[in-house]
Symmetry: D2
Subunit: 342 residues, 4 copies
């Protein structure tokens, strides 16, 4: 089967690599000729590329399959552009990080033209090439069924994890790592919540490790508390000098918190045991926020996910005004002065 | 009636002032002769003071009433010391910010000696002299009843607020601003939770005002978002340049969030509209933490109070290690680099 | 001056009462003739009413001032309808609980027609008649200035609270209880955040009082813990049987948490000391959610306000699915069975 | 090497099985003769058991290794009892879920007697037999070193997960699944925080899945909102009927949230797709609370872990009083009645 890929960045190129390795062919579009040439050299005749969108579209067999894999900000314009060049029966896939609202709107625009719109939330990050990509898919049933051979090649495959007890026989698509979640937007919706969960789980590890990090507080701060600080009642309970990289390593095997995130954390800590290469200014790329928006819209409590998102805002200094306000109130009612040091 | 006051700092001196103004007499103990002299000059013969603890105790009529009003860290030792000098029937009051656990332990030690122990959580801060102090009291019923004339003078009195609808006739002690809450420790327990609530309410104002503060985000950041930032979908919704000091002022009258904390906030913002004199390093003096400990021990959900306490920790840089950990994870799975700037 | 009021429900009627009492006149529109008749009887010739919108508009002096005070769901349609009947120079006020996004859109539609649009967030609830309404105003400067005499009559007035130290001379509008916050939507924006703060402060009180409520846990549950429960380490610390209505009463005078919300809480608890008339299913009317949306959009941490909103969702059973999921996980990894009782 | 095991419940018996399978021998103590007989039958001569503590101790070679693996509530008494029967040089291990404070106290009592005390936080649950147990160890270096052959047999071994990039050569103990964390209590401290993280991660999944669960809200609730509810602005955004069991399955392969907890969740959902066998009353067994206590003591922000613990309290009805209080306030200031239904 043939796949057209718009965008040959890390994610796009790796998807192309996985399908070509599995016997499919690919046509790529990219503005940078170098990216095309390199991939051509690596993959041989099974891959062709073009820096011209019309040429790219013409090189595709019908019904055309066009996967758009570019930064979210540029996706909308490119989809509009390529849709002009397509014919009824063709399929456009948004595999990036668009908000699912946009999928709903795009499907409404493209369906009357006979063009199928499929949104695919794609998880896997820099490890997708070897580990496979987890694919969460939204769209009409027919085009999604048509894409099955490609999806199967991109996804990790059932052998990537032990089968869930009770699941036997031919593995379902979900067991192979791809799932048709529902109509337009459903793929990005599920991916969005996936990332929301990711934020929460990351924060759980980070907070816990911070507690371990400060387990020596009773040894380092015994008895040095000013009137504006709460003295530590039992310094003898906090005299542990823990080796955090080793702790994350030991949890990787046999423990209830074993996870791929923990694997990566152990790896990062092995490389940089004191995290000296980080400033602690944590970005967020939207999905966590949108997950909260969905929770708020539908009245679902999400205190953990919210705390995780807000902690990222706070890491970027966004609590400062609120913190000054608190100090101003304390000064006003109690005459308290701030502690020096910030 | 006569009150013995150990500690003539702001709080102790103001309590003495209130009772003397109301016709009682006071004896003070302080290490700093100057504090005694000044109060003597101000209050005349109704006040006597000593820098010697034994002399102080001897100057008191029996049954002696000794109110200890010194920093929490020093309170325990002084109570032990003065208890040695007292006789059965005498009353010791801890009016400071001791943890209520200590009240329970102290009462157990002092009761067999016939000495009555009373804990009084005292709220009012720097405004107590004119506004009166709100008193939350723990101890046996008899000594608390004996103290009634003093407590009444220290408390604000019923006229400090409109009477609650339905409450008529002779105002209860609670309506006058003092309440016998229960046995030893009950006063400090209620005061502790009072402060926990205070933390939560302060944080509610601070967060809300921070949102107002950033209501111009769409005007100041239109279109300047990097790949590691979430673009603002509707910049036209965030183009307000709000006058925060005026907003806090307008809320003081007629609104649902009118409160004494808001009065103080408006006052602080009038004096320093941009909060330039604060660094945003917010102290916590224990009661908020202890409130959480009580919630955790008894299985009561306290997400708002916890968020408020944790925000204070975070304002002092205590999230940094966790934040670096998050950045390390993001780098590991997605190759994301941190934004510059912290 | 003359005010046209659309909607003579509790809020609309009370605003009319306040301005008429202050020497202005009013024309009302309502579908229910009875509401008009009653107000006419009460206020005499200074008030006229109509059940016909065109008649209502014709009865107004130009430039007309039309205040719309009806449920948020119906506001948009009525504003569109009345705008058709107005002339350039007239003023429409939305005094209800519209989302500020709508104000921005409406002003954009009405400005080209020469009609002035003013949004007024109105706080005060059932007490507004006697206490005055706190008014947060958005719109162009000119029409807001024109409305000044009416706003001044509706607002509480400077005497409703002690003046903030340093504020002297002629009281500013904010000191009288009304504030022009900015362009269209600014009034509802500030009111929205006001309500977000209100949610947070309410939750702070509710959580704290819940901790006090369970302060007898050590007396009621000593030693009866199953293997699936955490035993209470120090039952002797939780043996207080606190009188919550009295505690809220004592805090009303002299304490740092004194507030109008506390006044109302004390009042509710005096009337129903065990809260037997409530089921604990807490509604939210949108502003809290929208405040969170604004925080999320602009990257402002709001953990306290979020916890307060989520707690309301949870009170309505919306955590149930998540809670079942947790039990399912516990069963899966540890063989834990749920405790009976829910 | 020989291990003495007190308590042949699921955990104790499985540890015995693992070491015997690996060539060691074991002596067991249990009150239930049946548990001993069954294990004897299964394991043959490499296992002996006794229902008499003295006999059990006498059957052990010196230096004796006694692992106590019984419910936390009973552990203290049994350790005291067995310590009376031991000699200098012997080792007692607490492998249960004791609070680490107790380890510190026990080590202080036992060290003067020459008895070595080792605390081992043990993770693995019902899967430990096949998967191996993750062991977090506290105590003096020498006895921990002495135990190495046993620990290695109980732990999962390096092959249980891919090695962390950069880690080469002879795998460290942490890579095999056991780690000497520090002095007495360090093992239970690390295990405690491990469980705190587990609570947070579990809540992240549960909240996210709840959002997916309600993704059909726009289809099921279009337009049916009372005045006390927030209408859904965009019902068209919430019309997904998602298959949650399949979603958890697809995330198991290739996604960033893949984890052992997710494996178990997928398994539980495959067996009971609508979670009908759960009531949603979620227990907590202490470690989550203690993790928060540690965070509070040392001033570390832990908003996610706290929200997770509080959500469990709330699932058991512990928010009810607070919720009623909120309804009472709403009624008081706005005349709002509660929605029916709870």
């Amino acid at each position: 089967m043939q796949l057209g890929m718009i965008g040959l960045g890390r994610m796009g190129a790796n998807i192309v690599r996985r399908i070509v390795k599995d016997g499919h062919t690919a046509v790529g579009y990219e503005r940078r000729p170098k990216a095309i040439d390199e991939l051509r050299q690596e993959l041989g005749d099974d891959f062709r590329g073009s820096t011209d969108l019309t040429e790219f579209v013409q090189a595709l067999q019908t019904p055309r399959v066009v996967w758009v894999m570019i930064p979210a900000g540029a996706t909308g314009a490119v989809i509009d552009q390529v849709a002009e060049l397509l014919e009824p029966g063709d399929i456009i896939i948004d595999g990036g990080n668009s908000r699912y609202h946009e999928d709903i709107a795009r499907a409404e625009r493209l369906t009357p033209k006979g063009i199928h719109y499929v949104d695919i939330g794609t998880s896997g990050g820099v490890f997708g090439l070897t580990r496979g990509f987890c694919l969460m898919i939204g769209g009409e049933p027919e085009p999604v069924r048509y894409l099955d051979p490609l999806l199967r090649s991109i996804a990790p495959g059932v052998e990537a994890a032990e089968r869930t007890p009770g699941r036997t026989g031919e593995p379902s698509p979900a067991e192979q790592g791809y799932l048709h979640c529902g109509p337009a937007g459903a793929g990005h919706f599920v991916k969005m919540v996936h990332n929301g969960i990711e934020y929460g789980a990351m924060a759980a590890y980070a907070e816990g490790l911070n507690i371990l990090h400060k387990a020596d507080f009773g040894a380092t701060h015994a008895g040095e508390f000013s009137a504006e600080e709460t003295p530590l009642e039992h310094p003898e309970h906090y005299r542990y000098d823990l080796d955090i990289p080793e702790v994350t390593e030991v949890w990787r095997r046999g423990s209830v918190v074993a996870s791929w995130l923990l694997d990566l954390t152990a790896s990062a800590l092995y490389a940089d045991p004191n995290l000296d290469s980080y400033s602690g200014r944590v970005s967020d790329s939207g999905e966590g926020r949108w997950t909260l928006d969905a929770a708020i819209d539908t009245g679902v409590p999400a205190p953990v996910l919210a705390a995780a998102v807000f902690q990222r805002f706070s890491s970027r200094g966004e609590s400062l005004y609120a913190d000054k306000m608190l100090s101003a109130m304390r000064k006003a009612f109690g005459g308290h002065n701030e502690l020096p040091g910030k």
